[in-house]
Amino acid sequence: MPLHRTTSNPRTVSPSIVRLRAALAYTAFALTRAVLAYTAIIFTLQADPILAQAASESGWFNADRTQALVLGVILTGAILLYVVLAASGRPLFIRKIAGLETVEEAVGRATEMGKPILYVPGLNDMDEVQTIASMNLLGHLATIIAGYDSRLHVPVRKSLVMSVARETVQQSYLSAGRPDAYQEDDIHYVSDAQFAYAAAVDGIIVRERPAACFYLGGFYAESLILAETGNSIGAIQIAGTARPPQLPFFVAACDYTLIGEELFAASAYLSKEPRMLGSLKGQDAGKGIAIVFILAGSALATLESITGSETVREVSEIVLWLFR
């Protein structure tokens, strides 16, 4: 995977020292931000003396959300911890994500055949986290494509997404040393209407016959309209969405599908950037927490249902306070 790194000045400093220095600087940066954020939140929550009786209706703090706050601190803390650990040079493993292995192959095939590559970033606007994930992936993909000299076509449904996509792709071409290959008009707005967008993308697919189609982002009913049309022209199709209702269609009609969280993991996988891998490790910790609590909760509930004991119920109330 060609990583785009801006080459640093060839000064004669030992690489390990550079790495250490960078890690320290980064740790300081991340910690400062996090401490600032937590302080800001806690400070605001205590801005009112009535917080002491948070449960009372006149309080500023919404007492119903105490658990969410505590869990939020735990989860974000875990993610941050691993980000900082990763930045300080701790090596992290990431499992294979099927589909991403083939990205380079798909791009190569398109170049050989002299056909374009279609990238559909989904229907959602920039207010949706999966669109941001999609833009990250587009950046990585564009870097690869820039190296291969094939055309990248990105029709979008939201003009904000168009702006971001243009900026991202332009930067990728620039960092790959091919600023001349960047075509602004290939990243264009179609229509805000879902099915007008689908109709136009279908038209693009049958007329331009791209060798590879990527559908990454938030998709709705048009998922299968696009994927079936893409399939009928024999394109390699790689899809990914965090919208569960559309996953079955991509699964049925595409070669590879990134399922839910895999979409968010994909950019870490492609970039292998330590901080992103660290954040992924933190997400795994979150899943670990979920599994432990599900097991504990079910075990206690089972015990309670068998024994009918009041003590068990009280114990589980305490143990499972976070999730009540």
Binding site: R65, A68, L71, G72, L75, L92, F93, I94, R95, M126, D127, V129, L160, S163, V164, Y189, V190, S191, D192, A193, F195, A196, A199, A200, D202, G203, R207, P244, P245, L247, P248, F249, A252, I259, E261, E262, A268, L277, L280, K281, D284, G286, K287, A290, I291, F293, I294, L295, A296, G297, S298, L300, A301, T302, E304, S305, I306, L320, L322, F323
Partner: protein, 224 residues
Amino acid sequence: MDVTLQLWIDAALTLMILSFLYRDNPFYKFAEHLFVGVSAAYLMAIGFWDHLVPNLLGKLFPSLMSGVVPGAVGRSPDYYYIIPAVFGLLLLTRLVDRWAWLSRWALAFIVGGSAGFNLPRFLDSDFIIQVQSTMIPLVVLDQSGNLLWGASFSHIVLVLGVICGLVYFFFSVEHKGVLGQVSRVGIWVLMVTFGAAFGYTVMARISLLTGRMEALGAWLATIF
């Protein structure tokens, strides 16, 4: 406007789009291009009148807008709405190359805002509550204490299914050995989910086609 005319346009456009099923053709191209132009403008007009006028202009200049925004009469300006107005205008700097970088401020507002808006929401509804509703007894007894086999089995399937599915999503460990087995079961669970959801959806899609065919039927009925 004329109902018969509308019925004919409706039928013609329906047939043009359906012709795509055979192959790409001039009729489909016409309908597609018409759709893109009309829908983009339609949604812009709706956005202008439904959002910009009542929610921005009506809030900032209620007296000026009283003619077109019914609720604005006698209201005092709401200055919080300067925030979106400023960021909206910053977004347009993209049109001028020299100032284009300013549009990043608007983008930062939107992206940062969605992050702040989504983080607690997903934490609460999709993490906490989903974990919570999976904490169920693996053994279900009826009132008199007899074991209910069916219900217990269902509960076990749910709890184990969620856990196996979660294990599949572990990224930072290799799926080998016991973990590999569990994550394989996780895939099976996901496959059942996908198959079930696909099968379930077929119905929705057929309903849509039924609706369209009924519309075509109404048109045919006017001819014969």
